[in-house]
Symmetry: C2
DNA sequence: TCTCGCGGTGAACGCTGTCAACTACGCGTC
DNA sequence: GACGCGTAGTTGACAGCGTTCACCGCGAGA
């Protein structure tokens, strides 16, 4: 049943399996105890091996956490991409809701990962793992794609939005777009920024338990906010007077 | 110069002073090392006393952190209240900007406290410190006040906003308002929720270093978002001509 | 003046991350 | 098939952590 010539040597295969088990075990401990309580010794204990043996696979506790963070980002990005791919390409608002709902569901199902991901980056000035940055980009890229396609479909009057942006802002937003290699103008990026901050603000407050319990399950309020943030970008097609700004 | 009869007995005064020094020292270590690295032994070392002596003043490391969190909340609430009080009562948008800018400045100046405050609440199921909850309420109360006064001034067409809310949402929002003893209807609370999530989303991403560096100092983008969130609430009413600012 | 309690000390326990020395085993090579 | 090397794993140790305990001395109140 096994392939006659395994593509990766046995040694490497075992190594990968062990590393995988380490990450799985660490992830489990993380999920039930929180990031602060993750201990290499605990992982080693659960795996039935000596603590020092872990250092054959992991440089340090910090690096392991970083690795798990990157995995979390990847999982989120996968989820968002899947939601985007499964959405109706012609129903831009619907697909936007699909994606943001998927984001919310992921956050609620993976509170610890969400903490790792969107909690404070290490202030050590330590260069962040490249993989973390890459996965983050992949994640926001889905958001960008929702917006670009809505713009291409003529849903957003970008000229109108641009008019509300100072030259400085336009420069900043252009730099951001360039940083992601995304062909969106400042207007689209401004909408993306608003959408992203609102999405993240809601989820961060909710998953971290800062929304008042009296609100109950705020799924519908979340939907409303996500609808609004999209609709506001599109409302400028039939421009209503904007009182300020 | 000192009062002949001190209002608090000397013993109690010393105790309070020591506790204050503990918190001050802990705060300093927190600011430069982050919450994870705060150690009671380090605090004791910095104060030149034995580690065990701290336990005469503090129940545990966890409780000390909780105390510092509550202090952080109080500081933020003070800042917001001061900004509100100093604002022009007739310029609702301007005052809203004052308050949110003060919030942002506070967050940027106190990143560690912001982490403590808006990071994940302990998942221990442990009852959160009452003081923390109280100070949080005091903080959002300023936001509510901005909104109530804008509503009273007729800036927000609450009926229009209400129309976009399902009965379930209205119930939820009413419960939230009741929880805070605030005389705002569902429409106002919906606006508050949007404003709060957007405000917090932006600041959380910024202070935690998740906004792309290419954006530079996004003060103007922050202003724009805060203006928009307020303006959108007022959009449905005949727009008072208001010079952008 | 006596006594009690409070602030403070030092030692200890068990936990943590991490490192160094050492062992055993599997693989590739002669 | 024997050899040697690299690698996974071991034991043991070090320093630091939170926390507890037994003890001690001084100041305040009776």
């Amino acid at each position: 049943m096994a392939a006659v010539s395994s593509p990766v040597p046995r040694r490497e295969r075992l190594r990968r399996a062990t590393l995988e088990e380490i990450k799985r075990t660490a992830h489990a401990q993380l999920a039930e105890l929180g990031p602060a309580a993750l201990s290499l010794r605990g992982v080693a204990r659960a795996m039935g091996m000596a603590p020092s043996a872990l250092y054959r696979y992991v440089d340090s506790r910090e690096v392991l956490l970083e690795e798990l963070t990157a995995d979390g980002f990847a999982s989120l990005a996968d989820t968002l991409e899947a939601a985007f791919a499964a959405g109706d390409p012609h129903d831009h608002l619907g697909r936007w809701l699909d994606v943001t709902r998927a984001h919310r569901r992921w956050a609620l199902n993976h509170p610890v990962e969400y903490t790792l991901i969107f909690g404070p980056r290490v202030p050590e000035g330590g260069l962040v793992d490249n993989r973390v940055a890459a996965e983050l980009k992949r994640s926001v890229a889905v958001l960008f794609r929702c917006m670009t396609e809505a713009i291409e479909a003529g849903l957003v009057d970008t000229g109108q939005v641009d008019a509300g942006l100072t030259p400085t802002m336009q420069t900043r937003l252009r730099a951001w777009a360039a940083d992601h290699g995304v062909p969106i103008g400042p207007a689209g990026m401004a909408v993306c920024l608003t959408a992203w901050t609102q999405l993240h603000g809601f989820l961060s407050l909710e998953t971290f338990g800062h929304l008042p319990p009296a609100l109950g399950d705020p799924a519908d309020l979340f939907d409303r906010q996500m609808t609004d943030v999209f609709a506001q970008a599109c409302r400028t097609i039939a421009p209503r007077p904007r009182p300020a700004g």
